[in-house]
């Protein structure tokens, strides 16, 4: 099929200002999306991409192998800097996840139409990001084979997890988040899986999609409960997504370290999460719409809106930075004051100022709708923001730890090649999963698109 042959030199696309290009019918949208899954053989570009991702995945395997067999000592961490890249990556990945849930849940509650064609792969992104994030708390443990000691279960020792520890909260928050996201994602998939079942040619394909679609037949009664279910899930996910990064921020705020022990962290982290999350959505959406010619569905309006969201959250983050610095000096605590000075002028000043540029200066470009509507510039900005957000977490962790209360404790953190390999490796995991997803599941919610077609026709009718 021409549509999903990854052909860069195809006819120039017509950009639209609607959330859905005109002229689409129930059938056209259904077929257009489901064909991307049902058409074989796969495009060689997809195969190449997957191969690359898998190569990075092997790097992850190698890195973890070394970490597990020799110990976390292969990383650059030490006393005083007990946490390094691992926790940075953890927070970063979790943060990225948030955009997906927010798009699918929050925008659903807000009845935003532009959510429709991006929520599916955004949710997928969430799940894969959380999966990557989940690796790190495990890998960074000194004795990972005892991870199950963090779970409450009646053991032969009669002891329990220590529920006052944010790390245990993390266990609950992250696993809940993963489960709920999966639930939400799957719920959304059921009718589309039915579509795939009905459109599939091969018997095997029919059976597979038939099983996972639970025999969905779109009866009115089912639709009613289904809608209710989605609404409830949306209502639950919205507070959940806020709570998750709040809990993640507790990992730092609960501690007494200057630069960690701060009440501003929860909102600041949530905002940052959405910020980086939307950046990631754009990073995925822009190439997708280009190579799969989804301009009709992921339109300029989408890019524009997402740009705006980034700008807004970016400003919240900026405010937090200013506040953080202000409080450090206003508090009168010599430790906080030194910490802030050290961040700005100390050994890690370069990193700090890079992050300030990436998160504060760079995104100001989004004030201009020209930029928001220029896919590749937007793509660049989103990359910058993600880099910045990763550095932000690194700076928070390293600069607070490496010079804390007693000067005799002061030290430095230098990452090793295993630090980098672990990080790159999780990118591999993420993209491997994502490549498989776009190949085997509809990357846009078909039934919602049909609903969208319906609604837009109504509006036209009303307009006339």
């Amino acid at each position: 099929m021409a549509e999903n042959d990854d052909n860069l030199t195809s006819t120039a696309v017509v950009e639209t200002e609607e959330v859905l290009a005109p002229g689409h019918t129930y059938r056209s949208v259904s077929d257009r999306i489901s064909d991307m899954v049902l058409t074989w053989p796969v495009g060689y570009k997809w195969a190449a991409g997957l191969a690359l991702a898998v190569a990075m995945l092997i790097v992850l395997h190698l890195a973890l192998a070394v970490v597990f067999t020799i110990g976390v000592g292969v990383w650059g961490i030490n006393i005083p800097v007990g946490w390094g890249f691992a926790i940075t990556n953890f927070v970063w990945w979790i943060g990225i996840g948030h955009a997906g849930t927010l798009i699918s849940a929050f925008l659903l509650l807000m009845r935003q139409k532009w959510r429709t064609s991006i929520n599916r792969f955004a949710e997928a992104m969430t799940i894969f990001a959380v999966a990557c994030a989940g690796l790190f708390p495990l890998a960074h443990m000194g004795r990972p084979w005892l991870f199950y000691w963090l779970l409450p279960y009646p053991d032969t020792m009669g002891v329990w997890p220590q529920f006052r520890s944010p790390l245990v909260w993390d266990v609950f928050a992250v696993s809940t988040y993963l489960t709920v996201s999966l639930v939400f994602w799957y719920t959304g998939l059921i009718p589309d899986l039915a579509t795939l079942r009905d459109r599939a040619k091969k018997r095997a394909t029919k059976i597979i999609y038939g099983i996972v679609s639970l025999g969905w037949r779109g009866s009115a009664e089912h639709w009613k409960r289904y809608e209710m279910c989605s609404l409830l899930l949306a209502g639950l996910s919205t507070p959940l997504v806020v709570s998750v990064h709040t809990v993640v921020s507790f990992d730092f705020t609960i501690a007494i370290l200057p630069g960690w022990h701060s009440t501003i962290f929860p909102p600041y982290f949530v905002a940052g999460a959405i910020y980086s999350g939307f950046a990631m959505v754009l990073t995925l959406a822009i190439p997708l719409r280009r190579y799969y010619h989804l301009e009709d569905f992921v339109t300029m309006k989408h890019l524009d809106f997402m740009g705006k969201v980034m700008l807004a959250t970016g400003l919240v983050v900026a405010y937090s930075y200013v506040m953080e610095a202000f409080m450090a000096f206003y508090s009168g605590s010599p430790y906080d004051r030194y910490m802030m000075m050290n961040r700005m002028t100390g050994p890690y000043a370069k990193v700090f100022w890079t992050l300030i540029f990436c998160n504060l200066v760079g995104p100001q470009a989004l004030w201009f709708s020209k930029i928001r509507r220029h896919p590749w510039v937007l793509f660049a900005v989103s990359l910058v923001v993600q880099t910045g957000m990763w550095l932000e977490r690194l700076v928070i962790i390293i600069t607070s730890l490496h010079r804390d209360f007693l000067p005799s404790n002061w030290g430095m953190f230098y990452p090793t090649r295993w630090d980098y390999m672990t990080f790159i490796g999780t990118l591999g995991l993420f993209f491997t999963l994502f490549y498989l997803f776009i190949r085997f599941l509809p990357m846009i919610a078909i039934h919602e698109l049909r609903d969208l077609v319906h609604k837009t026709e109504h509006e036209k009718a009303a307009a006339h």
């Binding site: 032969t156 020792m157 009669g158 002891v159 059976i207 099983i211 639970l214 025999g215």
Partner: protein
């Protein structure tokens, strides 16, 4: 025709879902069972010993006191294992040519120690002290079982931490009079709890469950 499945599929699908849930449950039960099994805990397992030593015979028939062999039980963390000498104090007189005792005589002659298979072992990070338990009225049989009824010695309890803690939390259920501590066979009286409460006061027993009690 869009019908993909046979009608039996409805039942199959539901059954398999239930089955899956049960399978997962079963797995956890299995793990738990293995942990509790003698294979894993070595409890109630009879080990091959160089000499089939019978606590039953020596304590009940001969009426030898525990401390005759386990000399340091009252003043050391380690109860003490009798040197071959101790065996020979009697067995140079009696059963002097029993085949069963050949290894003992050999050890005494050659100076090569007897190598017993260890029955009750704790991990290296657990620091158990016999003397204080004995002093506070915890009898041998409380942990080691009715030794007076063991023709060959086996580990009576799992020695899991949960098991230790149970006693440390509720000493009144286990403590006994000091004079009864070394009884090779002991059955708690009817009024155990009442007596236990009394002894706890008398022996100043504290319920220690903080980690430093055993881990250092």
């Amino acid at each position: 025709m869009p019908q993909v499945f046979h009608r039996s599929m409805n039942t199959i699908s539901r059954v398999s879902i239930v089955g899956l849930v049960m399978l997962i449950g079963g797995f956890f039960y299995f793990c738990w069972a293995v942990n509790m099994s003698p294979y894993y805990t070595r409890a109630k397992l009879q080990l091959i010993q160089p000499v089939p030593f019978s606590h039953k015979h020596h304590t009940m028939d001969d009426g030898i006191d525990c401390r005759y062999c386990h000399t340091s039980v009252e003043n050391s963390s380690f109860a003490g294992l009798p040197p071959t000498e101790t065996c020979m104090t009697c067995h140079s007189q009696i059963w002097t040519n029993s085949v069963m005792l050949e290894p003992v005589r050999a050890s005494y002659a050659t100076g090569q120690s007897l190598e017993w298979a260890r029955v009750n072992a704790l991990p290296d990070f657990v620091y158990f002290n016999h003397s204080i338990h004995v002093h506070k009225g915890i009898g041998c049989t409380t942990c080691h079982g009715q030794l007076g009824e063991m023709p060959i010695t086996w580990k009576q309890n799992t020695l899991y931490m949960r098991w230790c803690i149970n006693c440390h939390k509720h000493p009144e259920q286990f403590v006994r009079k000091r004079e009864d501590v070394f009884k090779p066979v002991y059955n708690p009286p009817k009024d155990q709890i009442a007596m236990g409460r009394r002894l706890i006061k008398e022996y100043k027993i504290r319920s220690l469950i903080t980690c430093d009690t055993c881990h250092r």
